[in-house]
């Protein structure tokens, strides 16, 4: 088995008496989609935030691409190749979709401390950004301000940004949220191919998508991983059925 690109070891995060992350260990291997499921409030987003660096764990280790990233800032982790999308779209609202993606291209293609060359006349920024938007299916709306885009379209911008970052691993926090059934099925097909490029840690409530995509599933309940396994193993797990899946599976 290939070495995991992302490994989380005994991660702990408490908010007062609430154990948001309770000794969580999991990993992400090359070429796979590892889905993280669980009821609301299970600590999925908190876990993603700790991996991305927006929150600091109280204890535990996170290593990425062979190095401990626990002490690194959000920006440093992103530059190492951790591409995150947000559960609630988090974009620069006054900028167009294209300029949002160009910012990601700019971040990977060298310094942001360049003061004179206009970005809107820089094909080395615009072309990759446009290509990413095209792959995310939003090329026609590239010049529309994000504030004027629909909820689903903003999700597509988030995906395009993650693509443009040339990430070595994707952390996708509910990418299907707010998308219509058609959008979800299109995105499912897209993510299916994306795993070849870089593995995906996928937080998702859409069980059809999860069962269709995931190579492995971890189930998070009250901050603890109660089970990790293949789709069939998770479907059959009695504890998971009781805690989360109910009749759905």
């Amino acid at each position: 088995m290939a070495d995991p690109i992302l490994a989380i070891d005994e991660l702990v995060k408490n908010f007062g008496a609430l154990k948001a992350t309770d000794h969580v260990s999991l990993d992400l291997r090359p070429g796979e989609i590892h889905a993280l499921i669980g009821p609301n409030g299970a600590g999925k987003t908190t876990l993603i935030s700790q991996i991305a660096g927006t929150q600091r764990p109280d204890a535990g280790r996170i290593s990425f691409d062979g190095r401990d990233i626990g002490a690194l800032s959000v920006a440093q982790r992103a530059r190492l190749g951790l591409g995150r999308t947000f559960q609630v779209s988090s974009l620069a609202p006054e900028f167009s979709a294209l300029r949002n993606v160009m910012l990601a291209v700019q971040a990977v293609s060298g310094s942001s401390f360049r003061f004179f060359k206009p970005v809107m006349r820089d094909p080395s920024l615009m072309e990759p950004a446009m290509a990413a938007l095209e792959r995310a299916g939003l090329a026609e709306r590239a010049h529309v301000a994000v504030a004027e885009l629909s909820h689903g379209e903003r999700r597509q911008v988030e995906i395009a940004i993650a693509l443009a970052m040339k990430s070595k691993a994707f952390l996708l926090d509910e990418p299907m949220a707010g998308m219509g059934p058609e959008g979800s099925s299109r995105l499912t097909g897209f993510l299916d191919g994306l795993r070849e490029e870089a593995p995906i840690l996928l937080v998702e409530h859409d069980m059809n998508a999860v069962f269709a995509l995931a190579d492995r599933i971890s189930v998070l309940v009250y901050g603890r991983v109660i089970a990790t396994g293949t789709v069939d193993e998770i479907r059959a797990d009695p504890e998971v059925r009781r805690a989360y899946l109910g009749d759905e599976a």
Binding site: T54, R84, F86, S90, S96, N100, A107, L125, I161
Partner: protein, 324 residues
């Protein structure tokens, strides 16, 4: 095709150039001085517009950099005038280019140091801490008798620029006008550059900026430093315009005035500071001639802008800002 904003900007630029030239040949040097005041305050506000307009950093302490620039001019000139050395035996100077470089370097250095600390905060805390730093420098200037303390420091003869008679009001205006033009050009380049894109994105959503791998703190620190440099240059020009530097250049009123200029003209807009400064100086002149309480009317106008024209005068004329 030219946008409405560009047409408006060019008109303003030409008007600001034509009015003092006409006044000069009509034998009205006072109006030339008024226009110079507009140009210099515009330049100071262009500096603040980098931090406030592009970066969303509401600095309530930019008087610090304005005053530092002013004192750089005053102190260098006073040593040159008296023939006494500065520290380390360095001589003073009355050459504007040297004074400007010193002003810009000290202004930038002060902004860098203040930014290092203040930029770790945000919102109201940022406003208050920038104010606190500016007040520290203000009280330091008041209690430093070597350079006039509370009474300020006169510049007996306006400093010199090679090949130009700076004592001629029109020549001095043109010098300030050219510097303002350069500053506006730099602002435009900066706003459209990679750095500008990152800076404007941190204003809108700094989590997003960090998540693509750009460190927002460093972007802001560089922006704040550049912002302080512009404002310090304006301070040096202001001191030479008035031939006088006093702690009032460092006071919080000055910081507030710069913010008001930008809000009046249009936050983040290229010519926002110019339009704001022109309005401010002209209101001060006309209404100030009618009543001592002219700032009451300024307050009413500001209220009108904030309530009904968020984009300031430029927003009113040219509509909302567009970001491609």
């Amino acid at each position: 095709m030219m946008t409405r904003e560009t047409t408006f900007n060019i008109s303003i630029a030409l008007l600001l150039l034509a009015a003092p030239i006409a006044a000069h040949y009509a034998g009205e040097p006072f109006y030339v001085t008024l226009a110079t005041r507009i140009a210099v305050l515009s330049l100071a506000a262009v500096g603040l517009n980098i931090a406030l307009g592009l970066g969303g950093l509401v600095s309530f302490g930019h008087a610090a950099f304005f005053g530092i620039g002013g004192y750089a001019a005053g102190i260098l000139a006073s040593h040159a005038f008296a023939g006494s050395p500065l520290i380390f035996g360095l001589p003073g100077t009355q050459q504007m280019p040297v004074i400007w470089i010193v002003a810009v370097l000290f202004g930038g250095f002060a902004a860098f140091l203040i930014g290092l600390i203040t930029l770790r905060t945000a919102g109201v805390y940022f406003i208050m801490i920038t104010l606190a730093f500016a007040q520290m420098i203000f009280y330091f200037a008041i209690s430093w008798p070597a350079y006039g303390g509370e009474d300020g420091l006169p510049i007996f003869v306006r400093n010199q620029f090679p090949g130009i008679n700076t004592l001629n009001p029109l020549s001095y205006f043109l010098l300030c006008y050219v510097l303002l033009g350069l500053a506006l050009l730099l602002f435009r380049l900066l706003a459209d550059s990679r750095f500008g894109a990152a800076l404007q994105a941190t204003r809108q959503n700094d989590v997003r900026v960090a998540s693509v791998g750009i460190p927002p703190y460093r972007i802001r620190l560089v922006a704040f430093t550049i912002s302080g440099m512009f404002t310090a240059l304006a301070g040096a020009l202001f001191a030479d315009l008035n031939r006088f530097v006093s702690p009032s250049m460092l006071s919080w009123h000055m910081s507030g005035e710069l913010i008001v200029l930008i809000i009046l003209g249009g936050v983040g807009r290229l010519f926002g500071p110019v339009v704001g400064a022109a309005l401010y100086v002209l209101l001060e002149f006309w209404l100030g001639g009618i009543t001592e309480r002219w700032q009451f009317f300024l307050g009413l106008i500001l209220l009108g802008v904030v309530l009904f024209a968020r984009g300031g005068v430029i927003g009113l004329v040219a509509g909302r800002a567009r970001h491609g």
